[in-house]
Amino acid sequence: MPEVAVRELTMAEAVREALAEEMRRDPRVFIMGEDVAEAGTPFKVLSGMVEEFGKSRVIDTPISEPGFTGIAVGAAMTGMRPVVDIMFGDFLTLVMDQMVNQAAKVHYMSGGAWKVPMVMRTTLGGGRRSAAQHSQSLHAWMSHVPGLKVVLPSTPYDAKGLMKTAIRDDNPVVFFEDKMMFKVKGPVPVEDYTIPFGVADVKREGEDITIVATSSMVPVALAAATMLEEIGISAEVVDPRTTWPLDEKTLIESAKKTSRAIVVDEGYEKYGVTAEIASVIATGAFYDLDAPVKRIGAMHVPIPFSPPLEDATIPTEQVIFEAAKKMCNK
């Protein structure tokens, strides 16, 4: 982190500040989505934005996710820089055609003639007792699509810097925010800064085992690392921050150093983000690994409502702790 004046901001405040600063800087940036204006979104992330920027730049939409996403694509191609708000990540199901067959491919299909500089903000993560249609983490789908970039901040600092990069990027970027983290605080510099895509961040250094964790799973991995420390295992926690582009090098180097790796992500485990990252590490650190790479994703079931059941589906620090302990033969 650069040495500048810092304050503590919540994740929500950090996102909002990034958006507000970019909107002040660049008149082409605007926001649209359901209940983004006076309501400031159900998570209140955008509170106060409409007061500063007005209803022509913070735009409430009907409940028409494909429709307003399509409008964002066209606006982005013709000189604007839209930020689209998809309230719950579960509703990405509705915008796949506009994002995947349109936004992601326009630049390529036109041989570079058109660009689509847009950001789609959405959420991931369970734990809110919201059940199967409001708790999914569908970033694996987006990461699978050439032409999209995929961002998964895990701290207010990262959220602000990555959001600024996303808005300044000339490509469609999908930005996932964990619903449970909006109120978590962290230091954020006052000065303008950006964080490049494709640069993993070592959230904690360690020697014995690497824990790669994304988004909501970063604090969980850090808590597991603290538990591991108590039994004499030094865990390194690495946060890729963007699943595409993916900083394969940092992940592989950490695994080479520690010789063991666990990958934790809140998406469904099968054919999910943990598969890609585990495979990258298993290949890149093949001759250095002392144990198979361990994957820990959300249980491969639709997310249940009942608290004891839902809790069983989300990776916990205890599960990570046990896995790491076993891998380190402790």
């Binding site: 309501a39 409940i63 919201s130 059940a131 249609q133 249980m299 249940p304 409502f305």
Partner: protein, 332 residues
């Protein structure tokens, strides 16, 4: 406005017994929801819930026109539809609390209660998400020649979802026995529907050749009358229809939506509560028509109150599902 769209009055008179049953059903929903709010405030209920209070005449007026084996699909604001179609409060509360005795063994919660026994295909947390499902049930009924009809309940917010228009077209082309019941409570969450809805609502289904009309959603007799006619039409093979039910939700978008002044005036709420309450309107009318006396209504209220209290107690006492059930029901 097209020819197909007419404003309906009340239909043929209902007997006192049926009216008292309707009164009981609406009261059951109201008391049910008030207890849900209470469970939320007492932090007994996990997550959030969208209350149906104020809209009871819509669900009850329509469902009382249906056969037990007719189908409905419902929404995130689904408790009213569910009760009106015949579910019982005890297993519903159990579901809301995530208990094994719930309709979905605790896996669904407030937004996913489903009940094959009463023809309820399920609440749905995707706005407009069940429009196809309802038409599909009607399609199946038609193919099987079962004489069943399907009612698709949805809020006016779902008018924003393209799926609706695809399905309106398909159901008219295939002449399906489905009734689209649009509950216009004037708000898509925190946004007034006039900010999200261009043109005229009734002209939309009419454009697909679907007969469309509006009804006062606070007048259960009116709702029931028009629903009866539409259900008969559908059952007779006359295809789909669209009913716009103008109504109001008394409480917040969900139980946590307490400070609402930034999007709607207190005065507006008070007006609806005091002058348009569907339960009070029916009770008053029955008394004025000498179809019932106050004590009979009071008795219903008391009975429902204890039924609801018992149901809450049942749910609170019920056990959570064993954790290993989490892996069950993924595949049939």
């Amino acid at each position: 406005m097209t020819a197909a769209a007419t404003e309906s009055g009340t239909g043929p008179a209902l007997g006192a017994e049926k009216l008292l049953h309707i009164y009981r059903q609406m009261t059951r929903i109201r008391f049910f929801e008030e207890q849900v709010n209470d469970l939320y405030l007492r932090a007994v209920m996990p997550g959030l819930s969208h209350l149906y209070s104020g809209e009871e005449a819509v669900a009850v007026g329509i469902c009382e026109a249906l056969r037990p084996d007719d189908y409905i699909t419902s929404t995130h604001r689904g408790h009213g539809h569910c009760l009106a179609k015949g579910a019982t409060p005890d297993r519903m509360y159990a579901e809301l609390l995530g208990k094994e005795a719930g309709y979905c063994r605790g896996k669904g919660g407030s937004m996913h209660i489903a009940d094959p026994a009463s023809g309820n295909l399920g609440a749905n947390a995707i706005v407009g998400g069940s429009v196809g499902m309802a038409a599909g049930a009607a399609f199946s009924a038609k193919m099987r020649g079962s004489g069943q009809v399907a009612v698709c309940f949805f809020g006016e917010g779902a008018l924003g979802q393209g799926l609706l228009y695809e399905v309106l077209n398909l159901s008219k082309l295939w002449n399906l026995p489905v009734i689209y019941a649009c509950e216009n409570n004037m708000y898509n969450e925190y946004t007034h529907y006039s900010e999200t809805t261009a043109g005229e609502i009734l002209a939309r289904p009419a454009a697909f050749g679907i007969p469309a009309e509006a009804v006062d959603g606070q007048n259960v007799r009116a709702v029931h009358a028009v629903a009866g006619r539409l259900v008969n039409d559908a059952r007779a093979g006359n295809g789909p229809s669209f009913l716009l039910c103008n109504t109001y939700r008394y409480r917040g978008h969900h139980v946590g939506d307490v400070n609402r002044e930034y999007y709607r005036a207190k005065q507006e709420e008070t007006n609806w509560l005091t002058t348009r309450d569907p339960i009070k309107l029916l009770g008053d009318w029955m008394i004025s028509e000498k179809l019932a006396q106050q004590p009979a209504l009071d008795k219903i209220q008391a009975e429902v109150k204890s039924e609801i209290e018992a149901a809450v107690a049942f749910a609170i006492k019920s056990p959570y599902p064993a954790v290993d059930q989490v892996k069950e029901d993924v595949y049939a």
